[in-house]
């Protein structure tokens, strides 16, 4: 055996000992895979609503390394259906509100019973629904794993009422004229509300992730001269932020505040100009720091690590 061969064998032996992989965390990864697939299914459902079905380009490159597309095109690809879905959602929301205002009694029932339900079913928040094996519907699959943002968006706008503490829940039901089957009606209404809110929850979470990415990479992008790219991305995100502000996602006061701050910051980023970009970036960073925007965005997008995220 030559010295070279001996050395190669030694190198291979030592390389095997470098950072040896432990046991694969099977369950943890399985949960994340299921969750990622659920999100993809929800995205696909949303895309099909907006007529943006995945094309051949999305299913290529299993083996070959994908070539990088122009960044602005990628943002537009995701941004356009997102914006279209939001517009559709806002439209539906407004139509629903119009209908509710024509029937004040039904509207009062829904509000009262919705609150009571959140009190009577404290264990069944969105994040804690039992995961179902069937991943056909967006509602089922998205409910499969805990999500801090979803949980935050699930918070009712008024104080929760516990089921057995007597007064408030009963009083609310009585005031709204509910009968003995109010519980069933309450659950149905809450389920409907949940289903209606689902696209907004998903969109809000994704949106915060994208804004976070933009803000974190902003100084480096500007330094490297990608100012126009940053401005285009910021403008896209600004449109989405404004749509979210008009959507039910903004019913939560904390999220509304965050969206308001993002609107101001993104408006600044969208008007970045090559001539005075350094001042603009400093101003944006000051705004981000003063309002703890990144911290709040991280809190809003925190959760178990996902595949591809």
């Amino acid at each position: 055996m030559t010295d070279e061969t001996r050395m190669e064998e030694g190198i291979a032996r030592l390389a095997k000992q470098l950072d040896p992989p432990g046991d694969a965390p099977r369950e943890e990864m399985w949960a994340a895979i299921q969750r990622a697939r659920a999100e993809a299914a929800a995205d696909a459902a949303a895309a099909s609503q907006t007529g943006d079905a995945p094309g051949a380009a999305d299913v290529t490159n299993v083996v070959a390394f994908p070539t990088a597309a122009p960044r602005s095109h990628a943002w537009l690809r995701y941004g356009a259906p997102l914006a279209a879905m939001l517009i559709l959602g806002v439209g539906i929301g407004r139509m629903t509100m119009d209908r509710s205002s024509q029937n004040p009694q039904a509207s009062a029932d829904a509000r009262g019973t919705g609150t009571a339900d959140l009190g009577t079913q404290p264990e069944q928040t969105v994040a804690q629904r039992p995961a179902t094996a069937d991943t056909d519907t967006a509602a089922d699959v998205t409910a499969a794993a805990p999500d801090p943002v979803l949980a935050q968006l699930d918070r009712p706008p008024v104080t929760r009422v516990t089921p057995n503490d007597g007064g408030p829940a009963l009083a609310r039901s009585t005031r709204s004229g509910s009968s003995s089957n109010a519980g069933t009606v309450v659950r149905d209404e809450a389920t409907r509300t949940y289903d209606t809110m689902l696209p907004y929850r998903i969109v809000a979470r994704r949106h915060f992730g994208r804004v976070q990415t933009l803000l974190v990479s902003l100084p480096a992008d500007v330094r490297e001269g990608h100012i126009n790219d940053v401005a285009v991305r910021a403008a896209d995100l600004l449109v989405n932020t404004r749509l979210l502000l008009d959507s039910p996602a903004a019913e939560d006061p904390d999220l509304r505040l965050l969206l308001g701050d993002l609107e101001l910051i993104l408006a600044q980023a969208a008007t970045l100009s090559p001539t005075r970009s350094a001042d603009d970036v400093e101003m944006i960073q000051n705004a981000v720091n003063q309002r703890d925007v990144l911290l709040r965005l991280r809190a809003a997008t925190a959760g178990p690590r996902l595949a591809g995220t």
Binding site: D3, E4, R6, M7, E8, E9, G10, I11, A12, L14, A15, K16, Q17, L18, D19, P21, G22, D23, A24, P25, R26, E28, M29, W30, A32, I33, A36, R37, A40, V59, N61, V62, V63, A64, F65, P66, A133, D134, T135, D136, S217, A220, R305, L306, A307, G308
Partner: protein, 190 residues
């Protein structure tokens, strides 16, 4: 030549794939259990021993695999196909990670600013780790798969879609580069 799986599933692979495509969640789990350990090991090695990244890459591999399984034409074994995705996902992921790291400076660097540089010789393991990192990507993959994870050249050829001879040539070059980089330690193996 086939890449081995961890468990022997009584259901034939084609039947298992058919069940997964039909939406059978139990079949999905069986497929996952049969392949996850080797996929994770490969991802872990390609992620330079970063468990978090390995986990991400493994998850992404299976997410892609499940979504693209209807396109799988059984021209190769499922394991080969899965490992191809794993390599692709890991290499793309590591490129992103490297780009990201290039923008960062570790906080430890600031401590050394203005200080006298330390002359301490890094030990053999860290030198080897760094030498492997420095290998060209195409060579590193072959080295990791053959010398570290024990794939054959035929398996590597199928996974990377390269001729067996190319795999051998890349391994040879990778080994030569490592020998050069670790020449200081040549006596240790004598």
């Amino acid at each position: 030549m086939e890449i081995a799986t961890e468990t022997t599933d009584p259901v034939p692979e084609t039947e298992l794939i058919r069940q997964v495509i039909a939406g059978d969640p139990a079949a999905e789990r069986r497929l996952y259990d049969a392949h996850v350990d080797r996929v994770y090991r490969l991802c872990h090695r390609l992620a330079s021993g970063d468990s978090g990244l390995a986990q991400d890459f493994t998850q992404e591999t299976f997410v892609r695999a499940f979504s693209r399984l209807p396109e799988f034409r059984s021209q190769s074994k499922l394991a080969t196909w899965l490992h191809s995705i794993a390599v692709s996902v890991s290499l793309n992921g590591m490129r992103r990670v490297k780009r990201w790291h290039e923008r960062e400076r570790p906080i430890d660097d600031a401590v050394d600013v203005g200080a006298i540089p330390r002359q301490a010789e890094p030990d053999l393991k860290s030198r080897l780790r760094s030498a492997i990192e420095k290998l060209p990507e195409t060579h590193r993959v072959v080295f990791v798969m053959f010398d570290v994870e024990g794939y054959t050249h035929e398996e590597i050829g199928e996974v990377l879609q390269i001729p067996t001879g190319t795999s051998k040539a890349r391994l040879s070059r990778a080994r030569a580069r490592l020998r050069e980089d670790l020449a200081d330690f040549a006596g240790d193996w004598a």
